[in-house]
Amino acid sequence: MKFDVAVIGAGVCGALITRELTKYDLRVALLERANDCAMGTTKANSAIVHAGFDALPGTLKARYNMRGVELMPAVCADLHVPYKNNGALVLAFSEEEISSLGALLARGEQNGVPGLEILNRDELVAKEPHIGETAVAALYAPTSAIVCPYELTIAAVENAVANGAEFLRNCEVTAIAPDGDGFTLTTSRGLIEAAYVVNAAGVHAGEVAAMIGDDSITVINRRGEYYLLDKSQGALVSHTVFQCPTVMGKGVLVSPTVDGNLIVGPTADDIPDGDDVATTAEGLATVVSKATKSVAGLNMREAITSFAGNRAHLASDDFIIGPSAVNHHFINVAGIESPGLSASPAIAEGVAAILQRVGGGFAENAAFDPVRPEPVRFRNMSTEERAALVAKDPAYGRIVCRCETVTEGEILDAIRGPAGARDVDGVKRRTRAGMGRCQGGFCGSKVVELLARELGVEMNEITKFGGGSNIMFDRTK
């Protein structure tokens, strides 16, 4: 297989970079070691488009965050990904923290964040009636927003594929050899030649860079644990509610999600294995104690799931985005922790510009279409729209996931689409089937059945998320 550019890692950055590169007359491959995109840091983070007051002025984090916030609404509109500008509040619980808010405000203004203001307790309660009793003030950031990171990623991959890119899953890169002006990549799916490589391998970016002898990246795996609460709790706050940041990051937040749930977390613990996403009793307890300080009346009995994700932290506390010192045809996109999601559209734009510079300019792809068609979302439709839809295609008349009201038609779309789902979790992220309060108890086996039928395999070959995560064993006696 021969390509102009091989992008390693189908997280939100890799996906958006690939899509950005399809604007040019390039053969682009997106290489992903897992069975689906959005399987690493992207699927387990806070899902926030940060306003941009955290990053130190002059850093890449500040620059890409600010540009990302600017680009994100249009990208989401093109890709039909829900985006909601809900605003953020950073709470202060003491006089000392009020002065931290002042510092954040000054930093934000230096970064160019509009509309920042400090609210006293009364103003804060007016915005969020359920705010914790001990919060005395808050920094208000009206430009902060929420977006679903895996939905954005899936949409970007679909759009990239529709525009000619190739999405190669289960394609783990194990070695990279320079080859003339380009590279030969040894992968679990054979040799792949590429003139340029983009290293967007998340927590594994250091290992991938080391494959060409670039030892400049040492990723610190920083694990964050989260709870996701039922929609019954989703209206408790309307803004994203932070506490004052610490050296370990932005701390535990409480935020509505674009789907109407409530997300709380993350913790921040540095761990040796970047693929270790186990939750811990201590971590989950920390999330609860901090979150209940921010928001009163948070009912943790309404938790529907807990999970952990690892973010790639660098000692420099900044992103690395640029050509490797070892080989300029190899572009590193590393250390993409918060505000990585916020910055991702800007990182895509930036990497395309870097490649243009390195490669001496590429011709445009005249056929590029930025729009990913809007997927059918039965649950969001009016009675009239639903009636018309079912009349047109009866598959939308069978509800498979009753908690989230997901139809068979939507699941078939998810499997048949470009970069379609190949496993149960893939269907879940594309349609929300199994994401509700029963967590797939009823619809799980239906989804397995549909996947098996569509992919032409036996039910026991279907996995939860690829690899050896099969759901069933052999036939019964």
């Binding site: 709870y227 989950l284 009675t383 008349g397 009753r402 108890g441 086996s445 995560s469 759901i471």
Partner: protein, 417 residues
């Protein structure tokens, strides 16, 4: 818009019994809306026996028990729409439903019986630490894989929770050749039926560990093991008691939750303990013309009681449809001293009929007395050799006892040791 006298939401044992009773009472146009491909509800996957001992006086399997009602329904002119999901019930009792053949339908109903059943509590609600590989599932989901789909969901199994489905699956998996290592129960007693503990665990030498829980799951792709630990009186894991058990499957049987999303949508008030609607002796909710029965009202341990309860709801719906509902003076029922809840929550004391009160206790009692009082007067006091949370109890108030009560009185049921 379609028009029915009675719309029954759910075609499991509850919905079928309610519809059949309403038919017997003379209700003309009845439809049962069922989300699965066929009638029968969860009984279809319960291929073990033990159903029908109270109601039919014989031991049937789940599909046999359901089959008797399915045949009865087929012999009537009750309409049945399977593979049909109810999306919404409006304040004016208009039911919106959808299926592949008829598309989106709106049905105006004089009365509605809610019989949607319940769902299992998933792992997420428990906050067990650790990884999230495949191989962690509710016992009911596993039951469907084995009994309906014909696949083994695991080979080395740990079961958390000793609810009846967990106990049944311990035996089922053993019979299919799997090794069930242990059943862990958080509480100091099982929430399952005594007969299931004997027939499903003891007969197969499967250990039941009380006051024990799963504290961590291990394995990246498929489950590789769990860590279990004993818990103290506050149900907190006791440090130092952790034990690693290699297994590829963790089945959860940690409680059932009545599925009341539709009920909430139409604004039917729910009982905080049962998680089902607040109802009167005819199982009418506080929303006029909407009735509830079966596991959507309260989680039952025996389907026989579901049938009994649903026939009451069917009769109540018929009375409502024919305008025969009696004007009422309502007394409230209240559980004290170990009685966790009572169904019905309110009773029309002018109803002119005896009323059975169903209840559950919060712990195991031996040689205790069930007492019923009203206005400080003891109406009933019954000795029971054993009371357990897993077994639903009942007491009956006579027509005379009720007639002596007034609007707003409290009927108090308690346990005396």
């Amino acid at each position: 818009m379609l028009q029915y006298d009675l719309v029954v939401v759910g075609g499991g044992p509850a919905g079928m019994a309610a519809a059949l009773q309403a038919k017997e009472e003379g209700v003309a146009k009845i439809v049962i809306l069922e989300r699965a491909e066929s009638l029968g509800g969860i009984l279809e996957q319960c291929i073990h026996t033990g159903f029908g001992l109270h109601y039919f006086g014989e031991e049937l399997s789940g599909p046999e028990y359901a089959g008797r009602f399915i045949r009865e329904v087929q012999q009537t002119d009750i309409d049945v729409m399977c593979d049909t999901m109810v999306l919404d019930i409006s304040d004016a009792n208009v039911v919106t439903a959808v299926n592949k053949t008829q598309g989106l339908m709106q049905i105006r109903a004089t009365a509605v019986v809610l019989a949607m059943g319940c769902r299992e509590r998933p792992r997420g609600a428990l906050s067990i630490a650790g990884t999230r590989p495949s191989g962690i599932m509710t016992a009911g989901t596993a039951q469907k894989y084995v009994n309906i789909d014909g696949y083994m969901p695991g080979k080395k199994v740990v079961i958390l929770g000793s609810g009846d489905i967990g106990l049944i699956m311990a035996r089922r998996m053993t019979l299919e050749g799997a090794e069930v290592k242990v059943v862990c129960e958080l509480m100091p007693y099982s929430s399952g039926l005594q007969r299931n503990i004997v027939q499903c665990l003891e007969d197969f030498n499967i250990p039941l560990r009380l006051s024990c829980t799963v504290v961590e799951t291990h394995g990246k792709e498929r489950l590789e093991g769990v860590t279990i630990a004993d818990v103290d009186e506050r149900l907190q894991p006791i440090p130092g008691t952790e034990q690693y058990i290699p297994c590829d499957t963790l089945m959860l049987s940690v409680g059932l939750i009545p599925e009341n999303e539709l009920s909430k949508g139409v604004g039917v008030p729910l009982d905080n303990v049962t998680k089902g609607p607040v109802v009167d002796e005819y199982r009418e909710t506080l929303h006029p013309g909407i009735f509830a029965c079966g596991n959507v009202l309260q989680v039952h341990d025996l389907v026989d009681y579901v049938t009994e309860e649903s026939k009451i709801a069917g009769k109540g719906a018929a009375n409502y449809i024919f305008g025969k509902k009696k004007g009422g003076a309502y007394a409230a029922t209240k559980g004290v001293n170990g009685v966790r809840y009572i169904v019905p929550q309110r009773v029309n004391v002018r109803g002119g009929e005896k009323v059975k009160l169903y209840f559950r206790v919060g712990q195991v009692y031996r040689n205790a007395k069930v007492t019923v009082t009203c206005n400080g007067q003891t109406l009933l006091s019954r000795k029971r050799p054993k009371l357990a949370p897993g077994e639903m109890e009942n007491v009956t108030l006579t027509e005379e006892q009720l007639a002596a009560m007034n609007e707003g009185d409290e009927i108090v049921v308690g346990i005396e040791e």
